[in-house]
C-alpha cells in the first residue's frame, strides 16, 4: 500500500470517528451546562412515556402523577414489564384505558455474574427490538428506580444520537435512597437530562442531581 492511499484510508476512518464523538458530546446532557428553560405548559400536547417498574417504584410513580395539574395535556403511554402483574392494576387509579408498551422479560438464567451480563444483554436487545418498531418517539421518557429503566433510556439515547428522536430523559430517584444513588440512578446519570432526588444529601453529593423536596 502506498503512502497516499494509506493517508486517504486513515482519513476515511478518523473523520467519521471525530464526527461521532462531536455528535456524542452534542447530545450528551452531562456535557452541557444545565440551564432550565422557562416552564411553559402549552396547549400542544406533549407525549410522555412513563415507566412503571413494579411494586414500590410503580407506587412512587403513581403518587407523583396524581399530583399533576395538567395531566390531561400529556399524551401518556406506559412501559410495563410482561412479568409485572400488579402495575396495571395500580394504574387503574389514574387511567381508565391506558396505552401501554409491554416490555419482554429477559429470562433469569441464574444468579452468577456471567448470567447477569447475558440477561442484561438480552434485555437490551429485546428493548431495542420493541423500540425500533415504534412509529413515533415520546417527547419525554419519565422513569424511576428499577433496572428496566436502563435499556429503555440507552436505546432512546442511541436513537437520539442517530437523530431519530429528541426524547428528553427525566429520572426520579427513589425515596428510599438517602445517602447514595441507586445503581440505576448512577448508570442513567450521564444520559439523563434531569435527575430529581428526594433527599438533600444526594443533591449535595452529585452535581447533576436536583432536590426540590419529597415528591411522593
Amino acid at each position: 500500500m502506498n503512502e497516499q492511499l494509506f493517508t486517504i484510508l486513515a482519513t476515511l476512518v478518523l473523520v467519521p470517528m471525530l464526527l461521532a464523538t462531536l455528535r456524542l458530546v452534542f447530545v450528551l446532557p452531562s456535557c452541557r451546562k444545565f440551564a432550565p428553560g422557562p416552564k411553559s405548559i402549552s396547549t400542544t400536547p406533549k407525549s410522555v412515556l412513563i415507566l412503571l417498574g413494579s411494586g414500590g417504584h410503580t407506587g412512587e410513580m403513581i403518587r407523583v402523577l396524581k399530583q399533576f395539574e395538567h395531566f390531561g395535556l400529556l399524551k401518556r403511554t406506559y412501559a410495563i414489564s410482561d412479568s409485572d402483574k400488579t402495575s396495571l392494576a395500580s394504574l387503574q387509579a389514574i387511567e381508565k384505558s391506558p396505552s401501554t408498551i409491554i416490555l419482554p422479560r429477559a429470562r433469569n438464567v441464574g444468579e452468577n455474574k456471567v448470567s447477569a451480563i447475558i440477561r442484561s444483554l438480552k434485555s437490551f436487545i429485546a428493548t431495542f427490538r420493541t423500540f425500533a418498531t415504534l412509529k413515533t418517539y415520546p417527547d419525554v421518557f419519565l422513569c424511576n428506580g428499577p433496572g428496566t429503566a436502563i435499556p429503555i433510556a440507552y436505546v432512546l439515547f442511541f436513537f437520539k444520537f442517530l437523530g431519530l428522536c429528541h426524547t428528553k430523559i427525566i429520572y426520579v430517584e427513589s425515596l428510599a435512597r438517602v445517602k447514595q444513588l441507586s445503581l440505576t440512578g448512577w448508570l442513567i446519570l450521564p444520559i439523563s437530562d434531569r435527575i430529581l432526588v428526594q433527599w438533600e444529601s444526594l443533591a449535595k453529593k452529585y452535581k447533576r442531581c436536583e432536590y426540590h423536596g419529597i415528591l411522593v
Binding site: 403518587r63 407523583v64 395539574e69 419519565l142 426540590h212 423536596g213
Partner: protein, 178 residues
C-alpha cells in the same frame, strides 16, 4: 376513650416477627393500658402468613377473622387494596414494616407511626429511610424484640410528632414541560 391501632406488613410478604409481636399477650396488655380498644393486624397475601396467624390465634375463638380478648377487639386482615381509606385513616397509631409505600401512607394521613425494620431483607434501605424520617421528628423506628417495641410504642403515644410537608410532585410536571 378508645381508638384503633393498625399493624401492617405491606401488600406482599408476611413479616413474621412483626405479626408475632402484634399478637403477643403483652402487646395486647399495653394497648389496653394505653386506652385502645381495637387492633387490626394486616399480614399479607401469602399462605405462610395465613398459617402463622392461624397458629398464633389458636387459643382464641376467632370468627370471621375477628376475636376479642380482655375488651380489645382484634381484626385479622390478609390484604386490602384500599387500606388507606378503610384502615389507616381510621387508626390512631400505626405500627408498620419499613416499606416506602406503607410508611408514606401513614405519614400522609398524619398518623403516629412506629416502623419495625425487617433486618432479614438483604438490600436494606428500609432502615436508611426510617432513620432519615426519624431525624426529622416524623416517626420512631425499632429494630429489636418485643420489649423494645413495647417501650417505643408507649413513648410514641405520649409525645407529639412533626407533620410531613406536602409532597412536591408538581415539580416533576414543571420539569417535564420545561
Amino acid at each position: 376513650m378508645g381508638g384503633q391501632v393498625l399493624v401492617t406488613c405491606g401488600a406482599t410478604v408476611c413479616f413474621d416477627r412483626l405479626v408475632e409481636n402484634a399478637l403477643d399477650k403483652r402487646f395486647f396488655g399495653l394497648l389496653l393500658r394505653l386506652g385502645f380498644d381495637r387492633l387490626v393486624v394486616q399480614y399479607g397475601k401469602t399462605a405462610e402468613g395465613q398459617e402463622l396467624v392461624t397458629r398464633l390465634t389458636q387459643q382464641y375463638t376467632v370468627s370471621d377473622g375477628q376475636f376479642t380478648v380482655d375488651g380489645l377487639h382484634v381484626e385479622l386482615l390478609a390484604f386490602d387494596a384500599d387500606i388507606v381509606a378503610n384502615y389507616t385513616q381510621k387508626s390512631d397509631l400505626v405500627i408498620s414494616h419499613g416499606g416506602t409505600g406503607s410508611v408514606l401512607d401513614s405519614l400522609r394521613c398524619n398518623k403516629k407511626l412506629v416502623v419495625v425494620i425487617n433486618s432479614a431483607l438483604a438490600d436494606n434501605h428500609q432502615e436508611e429511610i426510617a432513620e432519615a424520617f426519624a431525624q426529622q421528628g416524623l416517626l420512631e423506628y425499632v429494630r429489636g424484640d418485643l420489649s423494645e417495641l413495647l417501650r417505643v410504642t408507649e413513648r410514641v403515644c405520649n409525645r407529639s410528632y412533626n407533620k410531613m410537608p406536602s409532597p412536591k410532585g408538581r415539580i416533576v410536571e414543571d420539569v417535564l414541560w420545561s
